[in-house]
Symmetry: C2
Subunit: 419 residues, 2 copies
Amino acid sequence: MAVSNIRYGVGVTKEVGMDLQNMGAKNVCLMTDMNLSQLPPVQVVMDSLVKNDVPFKVYDNVRVEPTDTSFMEAIEFAKKGAFDAYVAVGGGSTIDTCKAANLYASSPHSDFLDYVNAPIGKGKPVSVPLKPLIAVPTTSGTGSETTGVAIFDYECLKVKTGIASRAIKPTLGLVDPLHTLHMPPRVVANSGFDVLCHALESYTAIPYHMRSPCPSNPITRPAYQGSNPISDIWAVHALRIVAKYLKRAVRNPDDLEARSHMHLASAFAGIGFGNAGVHLCHGMSYPISGLVKKYKAKDYNVDHPLVPHGLSVVLTSPAVFTFTAQMFPERHLETAEILGADTRTARIQDAGPVLADTLRKFLFDLDVDDGLAAVGYSKADIPALVRGTLPQERVTKLAPRPQSEEDLSALFEASMKLY
Amino acid sequence: MAVSNIRYGVGVTKEVGMDLQNMGAKNVCLMTDMNLSQLPPVQVVMDSLVKNDVPFKVYDNVRVEPTDTSFMEAIEFAKKGAFDAYVAVGGGSTIDTCKAANLYASSPHSDFLDYVNAPIGKGKPVSVPLKPLIAVPTTSGTGSETTGVAIFDYECLKVKTGIASRAIKPTLGLVDPLHTLHMPPRVVANSGFDVLCHALESYTAIPYHMRSPCPSNPITRPAYQGSNPISDIWAVHALRIVAKYLKRAVRNPDDLEARSHMHLASAFAGIGFGNAGVHLCHGMSYPISGLVKKYKAKDYNVDHPLVPHGLSVVLTSPAVFTFTAQMFPERHLETAEILGADTRTARIQDAGPVLADTLRKFLFDLDVDDGLAAVGYSKADIPALVRGTLPQERVTKLAPRPQSEEDLSALFEASMKLY
Ligand SMILES: NC(=O)c1ccc[n+]([C@@H]2O[C@H](COP(=O)([O-])OP(=O)(O)OC[C@H]3O[C@@H](n4cnc5c(N)ncnc54)[C@H](O)[C@@H]3O)[C@@H](O)[C@H]2O)c1
Ligand SMILES: NC(=O)c1ccc[n+]([C@@H]2O[C@H](COP(=O)([O-])OP(=O)(O)OC[C@H]3O[C@@H](n4cnc5c(N)ncnc54)[C@H](O)[C@@H]3O)[C@@H](O)[C@H]2O)c1
Ligand SMILES: [Fe+2]
Ligand SMILES: [Fe+2]
C-alpha cells in the first residue's frame, strides 16, 4: 500500500512556484489543454512561477482523452525541452499526458510500446529515474494526481490502454478546491461518476489474498492488488462523499463546500483504486470510448467526438454490479445503502438488483444519457465492444467473478438502455 | 499528507529476504532487542535472509525505550558495519533506534544533537541520502513503521525528545499479524493505549488551517501539520478498531482476529498522527517516562525501571481531554461515542467530562494503574514534570488550547489518581 503525497487546501496552488524553486528547478514544463490555458487555474500557476523566478515553457496542446499520437507529440516537446521538472494543470487528460512525457523524455531510447501495458504493449518495468512532476487537478474525477497510471486511446486498435508503474506517480499533488469552481456541470457530473466507479469497483474487487497467481517475488506484484483493508477505507469514504455532495456539486457552480469535498473524494478514491484496482466498468469503458462514433459530449469544449471517461464507465455500472453481486453481496448491499437505498428489508440475494436500482435512480436524477444506445451504440456493435474488452485483462481479472465472452456480451446488451 | 509504504498480511515477513535481494543489499544490519532476539519474529526474518543469500549482521542490544547513550551505541555499530540496508524487527524502541543508526551512519560527521528536535537539539534538516530501512513491527502501538520520528530519552535532562524528519521514515513496513501473537498482555495493552492516544490526539489537534505562524515556504512546513481531512480518516478508523478489538486483544493471546486488527490500527494511527501530530498526552508523557524512579512495568522483560510509553501517555488522557474539549467539543463527544459512551442525551458543554469518564472506564476495565501516583509520582514531582513538558513545544503547541504552566500543573495533579 503506497500512499500518495498530496497537499490539500484552498489556495495551495499559489505555492507551486516555491515548491519548484525548493526542488532547484531551472527549466520547467507546464502542461495543460487548450481550454484550460485560458482559465484561472493555469493563470494562478503561471503567476506563481513568475513570482518565484522559475523559468518555464508551456505546452497547451494536450488532447482531451489523449491518444498515442497526442502522447507522442507531448513526448517530443518534452524531449526537445530537456526539462528538469513538470507541472500538469488540468484533468486526467493533462496529468496522464504529462506522466507519459516525463517517462519517455527520461528514457529517450525506449520504443513507445515498451512501457505500455501488456498484451498491447510490452509492459516493461521502469528503471530509469524520472524528473519531479507536480500535478494540479482541475476536475474531481480521475485521482490521477495520486496514481501511477496514464491512460490513452490506442488509435489503430480503437481501444484505450495505458501505462502503469509506480515510477510515474506524481511527486506531489496540489489539491486546491478553488479550481473546481470553473468546471461546467457535465464535467462535474462525468468526472464525479469516475470517482463513484473507482470507489465501487475497488471496494468490490477481488480481495488481495484471493488474487492468483500469487507472485513468488514481491517485486512482480502488480500495482493493482485487489481490495484490501486499507483501500477499503478510502473507497468507502469517497463513496460517502459522492453520496452526500455530488448532486449539489453538479447543480451549483458556487457550492464551494460540495465541490471541495468532491475534489478530496477524487484523490481519496484515487489512492484506493491506485492500490486495489478497478474492474469491469473500467475494463468495458475502454472500448466504449475508443469506438466512439459521432457522440458529442455536452459542456466539453473539444473538436472531436467523445464519450467522456466518467460517462463511459458509469453507463455499464447497473449491469456490472448486478453481475458481480453474486460474489460479495454484503459489500454490494452496503454500498447501495451508502448511496441512499433503504436496505433494511432487502434480502442478501437481491444485493445486485438493489444496488443497480440505486445507481439507475442516481443517474436519472443527474440527467445521464439513457444507456449505451444514447451515446451511439446498437446491438450490432456488441461483438466489437467485447473484442475491445478482452485485452483489458489487467483490470477485468480483478472482478470478483470471472467473465466469459457471453457474459461480456450480456453486460453490454443490458447497458443499452438504463431507465 | 506524505507517503508511507506498508505491506500487510499474515506471513508477509517471510518475503523480507527477497525484498532486500531486490534492493541489491549485500550487507544488511538486522536490529532488534535482547528479548525479541529469542523469539519467532526475529527467527522468521533470519530464515528469510539466509534462504535468499542476503548477508547480514545482528545488533540485538537495542534498549527498550532508548536513550541517547543506547542510540549512540547502535550508531557506532552501524558506522563500523558500513551497511547498505537495515531491517528493524521489534517495537518502537527497535525501529526508532534503527532509524537513528541509519541516519547518523549516513551522516558520519554530524554531531548527535544536529538532527535532534529544537530547542533541545539543533533540528537541522536532513539532506544526506539514507540507506533503505525495512521495519517489521512486533507491537501494535507506535506506528513507527509509518513515521519519520525516532524518540529517545535524553538522559542528562531526564526527558524524552526525538528526531523528526521525513528522511528517516522506513522505506517499507511489513505489517504481519503473526508477530503480535507473542506479545505479553501488558505490552498489548500499553502499546494499544499508544494507538488510542495517537488517534485521539491527532483527531483533536488544532486544524491545519488554524496553525500559526503559517510558514511562508512549504519546505519549512513541519511534519506535524495539525488535524486535516486525511489524517481524520485514519484517526477515526483506528479509534473504531481500538474500541472494538483492544480488550479482546489484551485478554486472549490467541485471538488472531483482534490482534490483526490492532496491528493494522497501529499503522493507521501512525499515518494519521505522522501527518497531523499529537499534542498534550504525548508532550506530558515525555517527562513521565524520563523521570521514572523505581516503577517496574509488568510483562516487560527489562532490567531497568520503566513507565512504558503507552502507559505514560494514557494516564493523563482523562485530564487532557477534559481540558481540550472546550475547543472542539463535537469531536470530543464523537470520540466518546466511538469508545462506547451513550451520548444521545449528553450536552455539548459536557463533552470533556463525558470523554474523560469513558476513558476512565476503558482503563479500569483493562486494569490500568490508578494514575501517576501508582507509577511513583507525588505532588512534589509536579514542578519537575512541568519543566520537562515545556521544551515539548513541537507537540504541545498542536493542542487545540494553549497551556500556561499553571494549566500543566493542574493537568498533572488531576492525573495523580484516576478512579
Ligand atoms: N490516470 C488515472 O489514474 C486515470 C483514472 C481515470 C481516468 N483517467 C483518464 O483521464 C481522462 C479524463 O480526465 P478528466 O475526467 O479529469 O477530464 P479531462 O482532463 O479529459 O477534461 C475534460 C474537459 O474539462 C475541461 N476542464 C477540466 N478542468 C476544468 C475546470 N476546472 N474548469 C473548466 N474546464 C475544465 C477540460 O479542458 C476538458 O475540456 C481520460 O483519458 C481517462 O481515461 C485516468
Ligand atoms: N517513532 C514513533 O513514531 C513513535 C511513536 C510512539 C512511541 N514511540 C516510542 O516507541 C517506544 C515504545 O515502543 P513499543 O511500545 O512498540 O514497545 P518496545 O519496542 O519498547 O517493546 C516493549 C517490550 O515488548 C517486547 N516485545 C515487543 N514485541 C514483542 C512480541 N511480539 N512478543 C514478545 N515481546 C515483544 C520488547 O522486547 C520489549 O521488552 C518508546 O520509546 C516510545 O517513545 C515512537
Ligand atoms: Fe477512471
Ligand atoms: Fe506514541
